[in-house]
């Protein structure tokens, strides 16, 4: 482009781009199913993750087989009933309790044998706790709650017996930073931003673009005087905005519905989200350009972006717990870096070393993916 036509070129560029973007917007809004993914599904996700899913065990049903009617045994049962997480039900025999366990009408069973009080007085009573291992996270939590309640009852009993003041040893005073409520909603809802942007940026974009490749409507656009770059840009802009709308919904829900604090800078969060949105769109464009088939594109988009963003980015499952190879795979995903950023910005604050590092990584991904998408689209014209 020469200097003389530079100005006019820019004006033309803007005019063409504007017209194209308008066309894409109309196309996006015309099909209700697009809106369902772009707006409906994010709302469903927010409601499910915010209200429905929880990793915090509550209402665990413990059936106590109390074959000993002594005060010591009743104290223990009372201590269990005091736990806000347990629903305690007492039956008189081991067999009765066992039947409830077999029928899955109880999550755990605590057995107090008939010699419980006598042995407790001697200081060596054992109570048996049976758990359903089919649900290990729940079982482990119930084990901890029951253990704590039993220990509490034990110490109370010692106190009452007036046992000589004994050394209490080390007491752990734990303070959980960033999530004083110790509530999984606090990290699930911010993490949803990543999920929703991936959904709109990669899944929806890949699907819609693959359809255009499949039907040849993209070639129809390419034979017009517009540049491939303009076509791409116009395709990206509406989805970019839909993705940001998802961000706004998540922010509003986090703040207004779930009371999740936002300690970091909102501006940084917005900037990082825009960067990630470009990355997600780049992946979506690439997938569609490579597959040119709706079914394949949707499957690949699910497999390479949505599912990993859910499973491997540290959203629900902490990357610290997984084997080395899976951890490496997780750290190849742009979603992992954005997830780290979002959680830090929400819960911990603007911690610059991490913000700069992760933004730089996302920017590198964005630049690389867009260049690649541009290349793939141009090749198609030859």
């Amino acid at each position: 482009m020469t200097a003389a036509s530079g100005h006019g070129g820019l004006r033309d560029f803007r005019r063409r781009l504007f017209a194209l973007i308008l066309k894409e917007f109309r196309q996006l809004l015309r099909d209700r199913s697009n809106l369902l993914i772009g707006v409906g599904l994010p709302i469903v996700l927010i409601l499910i993750f915010g209200y429905g899913l929880s990793l915090d065990v509550r209402d665990a049903r413990v059936v106590v087989a109390q074959e000993d009617a002594s005060p010591a045994a009743s104290d223990l049962v009372a201590s269990l009933s005091g736990s806000p997480y347990l629903i305690v039900d007492v039956v008189r025999s081991h067999a009765q309790a066992r039947r409830r366990m077999d029928a899955h009408k109880a999550d755990a069973m605590l057995y107090l044998p008939s010699d419980f009080a006598r042995r407790a007085a001697a200081g060596d009573a054992q109570v048996q706790l049976l758990l359903h291992g089919g649900d290990p996270t729940r079982a482990a939590a119930i084990q901890a709650y029951v253990g704590a309640a039993v220990a509490l009852a034990g110490y109370k009993q010692l106190d009452r017996q007036g046992a000589a003041a004994q050394a209490e040893g080390v007491t752990v005073v734990d303070r959980m930073w960033f999530n004083t409520a110790n509530n999984s909603t606090w990290y699930l809802v911010p993490g949803l931003i990543v999920l929703i942007m991936t959904l709109v940026g990669t899944f929806l974009t890949a699907l819609v673009m693959a359809r255009e490749w499949e039907r040849g409507t993209l070639e129809a656009l390419f034979v017009t005087p517009v540049h491939p770059a303009e076509v791409l840009l116009a395709k990206i802009v509406p989805y970019f905005l839909v993705g940001l709308a998802g961000l706004a919904m998540c922010l509003a829900a986090a703040r207004l519905l779930f009371g999740v604090p936002i300690h970091g800078s909102l501006l940084v969060l917005l900037f990082a989200s825009m960067l990630y949105m470009v990355v997600a769109l780049g992946i979506g464009l690439l997938i569609s350009a490579f597959t040119k088939n709706q079914f394949l594109a949707s499957q690949i988009a699910l497999l390479t972006s949505f599912l990993p963003a859910m499973m491997l980015s540290g959203f629900v499952f902490d990357l610290r717990n997984v084997p080395q190879a899976v951890r490496v795979a997780g750290h190849l995903l742009p979603a992992t870096y954005f997830m780290e950023l979002v959680k830090t910005l929400f819960l911990a604050g603007t911690y610059w070393p991490l913000v700069l590092k992760n933004c730089a990584i996302l920017a590198a991904y964005a630049a690389g993916l867009l260049a690649l998408a541009r290349m793939v689209t141009r090749k198609r014209l030859d």
């Binding site: 065990v57 359903h132 110790n182 079914f295 599912l307």
Partner: protein, 373 residues
Amino acid sequence: MFHDAIDYLRRLASLCLKEFLAVLKDPANRVILVVPVLFQTLLFGYGATFDLNDVPYAVVDQSHGEQSTRLLARLDGTGVFHRVATLRSPAQIADAIDSGKALLVLHFAADFDSRLGSQGGAPLQVILDGRNSTTAGNAAAQINAVVAQFNASLPGAARAPVSVVARAWFNPNLETRWNILPGLIASLSMIQVMMLAALSVASEREQGTFDQLLVTPFTPGQIMVGKALPSIAIGLVQSALVLLMSLYWFGIPMAGSLAALAAGLLLFTIAIVGVGLSISAVSATMQQAMLYTFVLLVPLVLLSGLATPVGNMPRIFQLATYANPLRFAIDLVRRVYLEGAPLGQVWHDFIPLVCVAVLTLPLAAWLFRHRLV
């Protein structure tokens, strides 16, 4: 009469063959129906775990005493905790946590040893990174367990008069993987089977060949069966693949009978195909079919108890899961696989599956001719 039956079956067979070919003729389709299932089984089998097995921690030890060293040695001995930093002052705690380098910081005050010696008790401050509160809570529980052991080893320690002996049925080490993999046997195949079924009619609609099918002598019921069978077969093959991986790759022992498992999975797959075909019948294009399916799949998977227990959900969500076939399929597979439950113990899981199948399959057949859109 007999001839009619033969004729009927022959026509049905040729229709099924056509549908099978339509799905499997594309080599890319053949790959996408097998590879992702194996890949996801590996990914989720290894990646979906709540079992804490690596806790990086930092220490501020202002007491420099014997007891704090003994406690730390005990911690390192678990194999789960490993020290990544030794901080000189409490001022450095914020950085160690913020950067994510340490999941927790142990802070021994200067008088830790002397208080433990003279007063018999001393506090140990533990600061945890709560950005993932579940991990942090698990780590805190493990610290408490180690400290309890340490306390028991102190001279003159108070002994708890009652001890709990816990035993977990069916999964003695409480491994998350034993819970996830049986769940995957049902859920992984569902994702693709529902999509396949949803696309089967929608793609013919989009290409205009469905009207041709409708003017043939086939009844809508036959068309429905022809469309359903390939998806059902593919779903069962996928479930079998995940089952084999779970048995032989991850080595999770199966307690129950294969027949009970197969019966449950067959019914579940039929129900899912029914849902998929119903979606297909109301969609005008493939894209719509895929988007509708996806919008349905996400809540079905999330509210199935696959990753987070149904029991942790609020009551109203628990009620909503009664409409979710996946919830019952996962329950059935887990009970048969892990607990060895015979059909007599899991029959109630079949009821919702039968309901879904009986509702959706005739609905789909009816919708073929009575399109809503």
